[in-house]
């Protein structure tokens, strides 16, 4: 059974206040984001709960949720690594760096490490092209990557 945390409940009130009451559906993405930050993924139970609060069917919530690539439907690692692979990063050697990262973590791209610490994904441009090659781990951007820098970053995370 999914429940929002107390802290999340306070945020929900603030989120709903942003939109006209007759358009509370606007709060759908913010509530999905809140859920993902709490649980690390969005379960069918959570979708039902969000739908209940916004007067939306679970099917509608799922149809919107599945459109957006940031939402996960399965649990992910403590650290979500999004590795940018588009043109500016590609020109600066991101493919080899992504391979290096996957090898270091001993997983394939798209997988989670067995200790549930890291999940590694490709990302289609993170708007940090001047700092290419780059990756985002949870909310933090890491730019101008090298194999050594990647090793240091990964080793520094608890």
């Amino acid at each position: 059974m999914f429940e929002f945390s107390k802290e999340a409940e306070e945020k929900i009130e603030k989120i709903l206040a942003k939109y006209p009451p007759e358009h509370k559906r606007s709060a759908l993405l913010p509530l999905l984001t809140l859920t993902q930050r709490q649980e690390k993924y969005i379960s069918p139970d959570a979708m039902r709960e969000i739908g209940r609060r916004l007067d939306l069917s679970p099917a509608y919530v799922q149809s919107v949720c599945s459109f957006y690539t940031m939402y996960s439907f399965q649990p992910v690692g403590k650290y979500m690594i999004l590795f940018c692979v588009n043109i500016s990063c590609q020109l600066n050697g991101c493919d080899a760096l992504l391979e290096h990262t996957a090898k270091k973590l001993n997983i394939k791209v798209g997988e989670t490490t067995s200790d549930k610490k890291f999940t590694l994904h490709r990302e289609e441009c993170l708007a940090a092209c001047a700092g290419a090659p780059m990756m985002r781990i949870n909310d933090t951007f890491y730019e101008n990557l090298t194999p050594k820098k990647i090793d240091q970053i990964l080793d520094s995370l608890d």
Binding site: S26, Y68, L91
Partner: protein, 419 residues
């Protein structure tokens, strides 16, 4: 060097209201409130400012299109920056959030708007927090809320995070997303100025566009119009990335030769290699060969050269690259980001990707290059929204300008695979 948006960008703690005010921040508000809203619209029109998100539509004209006497009206700031090569709005949001707030207040006053949303890219969670902190500071100082600075004008600004969909940078898809739906584009007309958010008149502007407005109000439209070229006024933030020694965001006067941006501002090509190609305005615009590097960086000159200024992202490619590889990577992006609503885009992006991937991996055939041209022709101007045209740009231009790269790669791979 003329600096408007980046004048104080590296000033320590510029993101705080104290430092921002010390640089003259929020001075434009009193000047604006002393005038009628329509006068501010006229000022922006007279400045010649054109939208900096990609389309380049005249900003003041856009504001004047709002349906008359229909309220409430909304402002949506487009901070969904996700186009490969483009990273300028991120720097503005991170280092100078109050400039955007000031611009949003001026736009809202000019257009008689009392509720504004800043639609931020979902991945910009940290920037959203910076922006929300700045909003709090602005409310505390009386720049937002009820009866701003005693003017009788009320405004609330809210943040809204997207969730990782490039298509949500398209204005009508942004509205659908903000209304809690899938980010699919809407049929136009009606345009947002008539029926936008919640079917009410809505202004949608890019971050950079709104950030220019305080300068126009402070210094006057004539001063802004005096910068740049006849039809491309002012300065432009250019994100320079790829094979340059000093990648970064640079503020350039419209009309600056592209060569100057690449070789002087960005330090030239890495390892002193030769320039092969450059994409002047982000992944959605056609690439150009090195011999056009003297093209002035402005809307008209780039258009005359067969490309566009777009979002102002200059991607530099040196001679070590076969551009088929670049076209494949960019097509991969558009295939991933196509919303699937219309067939030419949904099927065309995938089909192009398959062919480019075959050529890249040695399974391609020479006649497939003509097939790519054919697919491009069948997508151009036939898709529901501009994403389809954007997807065509890297493929069509790489074939038009660098056909020898396709031939060379096909031959090389044929020799390798024995085909």
């Amino acid at each position: 060097m003329t600096q408007i948006l980046f004048k104080n960008i590296n000033k320590k703690n510029l993101h705080t209201i104290e430092v921002y005010e010390k640089q003259g921040g929020y001075n434009s508000l009193k000047k604006a409130f002393a005038r009628e809203p329509e006068e501010i619209v006229e000022m922006v029109k007279a400045s010649g400012l054109r939208g900096r998100g990609g389309a380049g539509f005249p900003t003041g004209l856009k504001w004047s299109f709002l349906a008359k006497d229909v309220f409430p009206r909304y402002l949506c700031c487009n901070a969904d920056e996700s186009e490969p090569g483009t990273c300028k709005d991120r720097e503005l949001l991170e280092k100078n959030p109050h400039l955007l707030i000031e611009g949003m207040i001026l736009c809202s006053y000019a257009c008689r708007i009392e509720t504004a949303y800043n639609y931020l890219r979902g991945e910009f969670y940290d920037l959203c927090e910076i922006f929300e902190k700045a909003l709090e500071e602005a409310y505390a100082k009386g720049y937002l809320g009820k009866n701003i600075l005693g003017s009788g004008f009320n405004l609330d600004i809210h943040t809204h995070l997207g969730a990782g969909a490039y298509i949500c940078g398209e204005e009508s898809a942004l509205l659908n997303s903000l209304e809690g739906g899938r980010g699919e584009p809407r049929m136009k007309p009606p345009f947002p100025a008539v029926q936008g958010l919640y079917a009410k008149p809505t202004v949608i502007n890019n971050v950079e566009t709104l950030c220019v407005v305080p300068h126009i109000v402070n210094e006057g439209p004539e001063a802004y119009a005096a910068i740049g070229t006849e039809k491309s006024k002012g300065t432009k933030l250019v994100s320079v990335s790829g094979h340059v020694k000093k990648p970064g965001n640079y503020e350039v006067v419209m009309g600056t030769p592209t060569r100057e941006i690449i070789y002087e501002m960005a330090g030239g090509i890495r390892d002193d290699n030769q320039l092969k190609a450059f994409i002047p305005g982000g992944s959605s615009v056609p690439m150009l060969p090195a011999d056009l590097v003297d093209t002035p960086y402005d809307y008209e000159s780039l258009q005359a050269a067969g490309t566009m200024l777009g979002s102002g992202a200059l991607i530099v490619i040196d001679h070590t690259v076969n551009v088929v590889e670049s076209a494949l990577r960019l097509t991969s992006f558009y295939m991933h980001e196509s919303c699937g609503k219309c067939t030419p885009c949904r099927e065309g992006t995938r089909w192009m990707w398959q062919i480019l991937n075959q050529i890249q991996t040695g399974q391609g055939r020479p006649e497939q290059v003509e097939k790519l041209v054919d697919i491009c022709d069948n997508m151009s101007f036939k898709c529901f929204c501009p994403l389809g045209d954007a997807a065509v740009a890297p493929v069509a231009s790489s074939i038009q300008r660098f056909r020898e790269d396709y031939e060379e790669l096909l031959e090389k791979m044929a020799a390798k695979t024995g085909a």
